[in-house]
Amino acid sequence: MVTLKINDQEVKVAKGTTVLDAAKKLGIVIPTLCNHPDLCVAGNCRVCVVEQTGARTLVAACAMPVAEGMDIHTNTLKVRNARKHIVELLLSEHRADCTKCYKNQKCELQTLANEYSFGEHIFLDLVEDHDYLIDRSSPAFIKDDSKCIRCQRCVRTCAQLQHVSAIAVANKGSRMKISSFHDRPMSHVVCTNCGQCVNRCPTGALTEKTYIDHVWDAIYDPDMHVVVQTAPAVRVALGEDLGYDPGERVTGKMVTALRQLGFDSVLDTDFTADLTIIEEGTELLTRLKKVLVENDHSMALPMFTSCSPGWIKFIEHKYPHMLANLSTCKSPQQMFGALAKTFYAQKRNLDPAKVVSVSIMPCTAKKYEADRPEMRSSGYKDIDYVLTTRELAVMIKQAGIDFRTIEPSHYDSIMGVSTGAGVIFGATGGVMEAALRTAYEIVTGKPVPFKNLNIMPVRGMEGVKEATIKIEGTTEEWRFLEGAELKVAIAHGLVNANKIAKAVSTGKASYHFIEIMACPGGCLGGGGQPIPTNAAVRQKRMEAIYAEDMHMDIRKSHENPEIKAIYEEFLEKPNGHKSHELLHTHYIERESY
């Protein structure tokens, strides 16, 4: 332990603690910008400078480790002057058109400016000295360098959390900027559209591309029937943007709010999550049979999940030789979209051309996924608009809905009934757990041998998880799997996905089934989730997701009555002809830069 003094108060902290964290312990707030709990220390914005007695210069609290007998002052005249200057300097290179900015009132620089910079600006405006281009090339997000304060949170996110490095620092001095490979548009580089950078950008330099007005237009168009689906992870995070603490489950209130916004039908992505389990589970069992029994290696093992569009684009860029290992199943969002304009439209007697399909996702990559040319198997654009959790919160505020006081309600049917297996798709390990709950039962006729169906080995926030499930007591049809050990792995965050993909690619791993989610924590930590998202918040959301699962009457996908019905009435059988037409897709090899 190390003892030091901050503002004349003594504090004892572990060796290696930063001055910033030691101050936090005393309840002393030191402002920060480039610092983010998910990322390694940068120490480059310098907003957190404090005075250390005896030091020649001020020190950055976020980067300075504590030392025995250290004497720190966080609020001296020297500190205040420097901090004011730094905030003013950042403002001078930042296009501060706050009232026009998407991040207005959610901008960390603006918050600091409110505290440190009012009245006349000291310094000259530098924004006009640069030729800033706004990159709108990605369907998922907008990159506006004129708002960028070069804190490099995005760069560190892309490299450290995602192992993508689609963006990096280019040039030096006054021309230093965050850029892509050869300044190519973001739509033409390895960017996976995961939006983790968007979630961490302190200003309006990186924002999701918003489709709020498009959705309003559709809602107000009397000719259009607007259906909305909500992803599992949205219900455990939306509350954060509407005044609740992290971890609050607001499913019922969200449904009511969506209805009040004017959507014609409020449906659930969890339904197609259940459907994914049936399709993907069947695909896995088929692959196992082909490879293990029939020795037919035209199908590849291990099989990777395909629900996460960030992961899909990652593997297309970085491991294109393994595309055959990806499940051909579309993501639940896209299965929903394809069914909304076919099955749903038929059942409700609607002209599919007049159905507008909107999805609320914790994700920015879903915006990109919806735009993929493959995603038109209904004959129309399967998903018209994708909104993030944050955008939904904005719409709810715009509509003047008092979220705290509205009564919860239930999803509409059809395609609104779901199970606990569907909801856990929102957490890392959830798809695996849901798949095992169903596959094990198909093969053995018995539920998975875990208490309360909770397959604990696949849960939790560890970056890479592995589990082995021994299959015993198989039915006649699946006798070839008797005694077999199903080896599974789970990774979340692309840096971990890369570890597994590399191990598989080099033959160092012998898994059968691998779940991969592009974002840390899975969808609950998605790029479209409320800001801030960090380890503590993800933990809360995860607990909420599993609580949601425990509260569901049905917790196995194959027991969802609407799933049984859709196969009887429309799809016929899992992996059947119609499924392949509507629910499965193919992938594209992409460049590696």
Binding site: V41, G43, N44, C45, R46, V47, V49, T57, L58, A60, A63, M64, P65, K78, N81, A82, H85, I86, L89, L90, S92, E93, I122, F123, L124, L126, D129, I149, R150, Q152, A168, V169, N171, K172, G173, S174, R175, M176
Partner: protein
């Protein structure tokens, strides 16, 4: 004031028997090498002036079996060209100094980070390196040196940015602590020394610290190689004993009309004529990595300042706010004042900004921009405004 007369010295370029010096050094206990360098009072010749013996002592104290000695040959300070001359003429002494430093700190591997613009020296340097490796092997000692090339960024002369560059990353300074002596190149304990420092250290071992301390003053021991340029009839490289005043220097090198001397390059200090007498060139006065630029009365100090600020606005790595934006603000600010588009009192705001840059920037680059800025603005304010 204890100034010394201007005395030319020949220590750095003096020929010595490297084999003999190294054989002696390799037989010395590590502590003794470090003690001798400590005793000599040698301070880093790159500009910052950290006591070399201390640096070696700290690195030697680290337990890690893998350590490095790095020679900083990224000579980039405007107006400095002495390391090029040293490399060109006596590189064997650079290698020797590295081997001695390596012995003292326990490093078997050395890297020389060579300024990109000095690539033309490489064939000659490699030839000498081959000879050196052969000699070391003959003495029966294990030490190996490799070259790494810079690519033209001024910031890569900053020690931690230099490590990043060698490691293959963008040259951006690291947070300190940890200091290089604990975690330097490849996060291993590293002693990084300037070209001239290493040669001087070898000469101290060759001649003994007692000889060396006879030169210079209490705060600035020994001699130093100066790169003399600007308005002088005799530009070039001169090795001089430390402790002279700027006046003595100007008397020797000036053209009779010197109005200011920029000591230590763009990151150094501008000494105006009225302070020539009272200013000692050395750590007790104005320290320098070697750059001495003389300006006569035909020069506009606004242009001099503008040139430096332009340089910094381009050569800041851009990582930290005070340096990246501060340099641009200083540059744009003096331009506006000069054009009459900002009030002359705006210079006062800029001086305050320079103070902030000095205490809040992440590395020595941003911290030293204020040196030239303030010393020129304070001494030649009228030239900036009118």
């Amino acid at each position: 004031m204890n100034s010394k007369a201007l005395t030319k010295v020949d220590l750095i370029f003096e020929s010595i028997d490297a084999r003999e010096v190294l054989t002696t050094a390799f037989s010395m206990p590590n502590e003794k090498i470090i003690d001798q360098v400590l005793e000599s009072g040698l301070r880093g010749r790159g500009g910052a002036g950290f006591p070399t013996g201390m640096k070696w002592k700290f690195t030697a104290a680290e337990k890690d079996p893998e350590k490095y000695i790095v020679c900083n040959a990224d000579e980039g300070e405007p107006g400095t060209f002495k390391d090029r001359e040293i490399l060109d003429r006596v590189v064997y002494k650079v290698y020797g100094g590295m081997a001695i430093a390596g012995k003292a700190i326990g490093a078997k591997k050395g890297f020389i980070y060579l300024r990109g613009e000095y690539r033309f020296l490489l064939p000659q340097l490699y030839l000498e390196l081959h000879k050196f490796h052969k000699m070391i092997a003959e003495i029966g000692y294990d030490f190996n040196i490799e070259y790494r090339m810079g690519s033209g960024a001024y910031i890569c002369g900053e020690e931690s940015a230099l490590f990043e560059s060698i490691e293959g990353f963008r040259g951006e300074p690291r947070n300190k602590p940890p200091y290089p002596t604990t975690s330097g190149l490849f996060c291993k304990p590293t002693s990084i020394n300037n070209v001239e420092t290493l040669v001087t250290a070898m000469m101290i071992i060759a001649k003994g610290p007692q000889e060396y301390v006879k030169l210079g003053t209490k705060d600035s021991r020994g001699s130093k190689v100066f790169s003399v340029s600007g308005d002088t009839p005799v530009p070039g490289i001169y090795e001089l004993e430390l402790g002279m005043t700027v006046q003595q220097f100007v008397d020797e090198f000036g053209d009779g009309d010197t109005k200011a001397v920029q000591v230590g390059g763009a990151s150094g200090f501008c000494v105006p004529r009225k302070k020539f007498e009272e200013t000692i060139i050395g750590f007790e006065g104005v320290p320098t990595g070697g750059s001495m630029k003389l300006f006569n009365s035909s020069r506009s100090m606004y242009n001099v300042l503008h040139n430096y600020l332009d340089f910094f606005a381009e050569e800041s790595c851009g990582q930290c706010t005070p340096c990246r934006v501060g340099c641009q603000q200083l540059l744009k600010g003096v331009e506006k004042v000069k054009k009459g588009e900002a009030k002359s009192t705006y210079l006062n705001e800029l001086v305050k900004l320079a103070d902030t840059m000095k205490v809040a920037s992440k590395c020595g680059l941003g911290q030293s921009v204020g040196n030239a800025f303030k010393s020129i603005v304070e001494n030649f304010r009228e030239e900036i405004i009118y």
